[in-house]
Amino acid sequence: MTFILLLEQIFNGLQLGVTLFLIAAGLTLILGIMDFVFLAHGAQVMIGAYAAASLTALTGNFYLGILLAIPVTFASGYLLEYLLIRHLYRRNHMDQVLATFGLILFFNELIRIGFGPAALFSSLPPSLSGFVNILPETPYPVFRLLVIAVGLACALGIHLLVARTKIGAMVRAGANNETMTAALGVNIRMLRRLVFAAGACFAGIAGMMLGPLTAVEPGMGEPLLILSLVVIIIGGIGSVRGAFVAAILIGVVDTLGRVLLPVILRGFMGQAAADGAGPALASMMVYILMSLVLVVRPSGLFPPKG
């Protein structure tokens, strides 16, 4: 394994990391600030991917498809909060788990009824399907660079929104003391609905970015949901900054584990044994990391204050 290849793999990890962050950012706010257990966030990823793929097919333009899909994901989150989620805030966590687990099944079937069980066609426009040399003799797909750029831009946007704007201040105030914030004239209900819709929108963007790379099919968001829950726990529930650091960490650890572990194990066991144990151990890496973090810092790396 050369140094350049190692750098390229870290880049791959970064790309997985920003995708995880887009999903985890909304989820950590919903889970931490709104104290609501929401398991159907993977469905928002799927809705984003389907919206982008079908709108791209409809308009014949990839950029237009994405542009139109963003309001669709925002609206889906907004409506979901209005129709169902707001009735569940006062219920206990078990009820929330049951209801939102049901939502996963509901959305998967809905997509299957609407679009059929087969994977949808989605591809890249010629302008995004080229490569650039990020390092000497290391061609890297342009689209994957764009995913990293979009992910970082969204991260910056979310950070500024929460830390520097009036709406962000209201969100933080509402999380600290809901009754007092409401008494000061802030519309808490509307605020929650907007946070929820924004979370759905960012998860949807992750889905749009994944669409051209992976199979757009029912249930496509679920494997990512599990990883993003790990991200939230490592980062500290409710902390956007923690989610960012943890997402990048998980992305890099998962990628390097997959690539390096079989090679390392081959150093001190047979090829066949290493081929078997390597992938098994690699898929455990992120959970081992989570356990270690929880032992050292039980409330995550960056627990929110207050």
């Binding site: 390229e8 793999q9 990890g13 992976t214 990628t255």
Partner: protein, 384 residues
Amino acid sequence: MKTFSMAAAATAMMMAGAVQADTVKVGYMTTLSGSGGIIGKQMQNAVNLAMEHTGGTLGGMDAEVIFADDQRKPDVAKQLANRLVKSDRVDVIAGVIWSNLLMAIHKPVTRSGTLLIGSNAGPSPLAGKDCHKNFVSMSWQNDQTPEGMGKYMQDAGVKSVYLVAPNYQAGKDMMSGFKRHYKGEVVAEVYTKLGQSDFQAELSTLRASRPEATFVFQPGGMGINFVKQWHQAGMEQVSKLYTVFTVDNLSLPALKETALGVVSTQTWSPDLDNEINRRFVADYKAKFGGYPSFYAAQAYDTMMAIDHAIAKAGSSDTEAMRAVLAEGGIPTTRGPLAMNSNQFPIQNVYLREAVLDADSMATTRITGTVFENHADAYAKDCQF
């Protein structure tokens, strides 16, 4: 409500009693919900098409097909098989996509004296030491298809190959089948997570080792992911891609131009030139608006085999049907199918390439025959 349902049940029982004598019942088990539901849907389409072609009869007897959705879960499959045997009293259980599900129902069904006909999975134990005379495969033994690819690449003089497969039993079977005939250098054997969606890290490593060829087994959605990312990373310039069960008429509608030129081996292809296949493919396309996959073809062949067995045996008796099928010469979309001593097909393995047809629809075309009348490697271990 209760009285109504009891009356309905009584009527149903009476009717069942009345028609039982000359009606043959087939329990068709496949995955209709959850991931893999698309495969089951295609098989169901093909079974319905077969019944349409036979005019609703099998071997001249009135026939009824009961579909059972195994949800891709071995425990569910076992329960369903039990119900089909004991309460529906079917004459034949057919279908089953996944090796682990087939292993779960194989013993209970064959021991009950019901004929079990596989439409897809062909795990090696059932072809060898654990074989049973009441099981007949209408698909292939798992190793046959990758063996074809190994043989082709060996003959083509490919010097080095990089292997990628998901980390589960079938993944390992496919790779060992490949290596049975390929004697060149295996640069690396990489096992990915089952259900993995992003292969960029594996592709980066692969690029660095610059193998002449890459052999991949990634069925279903994983195949769509892998081939898309292979193309996007410009891997065509680094290594040539060879596949089994990865680029087929299920993944091609989602891949389209991306997969063009990718080579695979298979025992069937939509352009296979015989009368049964021409009719099957044309009617399937007309009715369901797309190419059938090999899963659909094998499901159709399964129904044709039952039709053939009953017609020739003159009854739906398990032993009589089995004896007919064991003789071979079964009319299928792959031509008249011969049978090995373990009741797995002896068949040709073709080389196929992904191409666009006259209507710009992506499909596969046969470019050569790797094996003629290829038998599986396990029949010698099978004693009924």
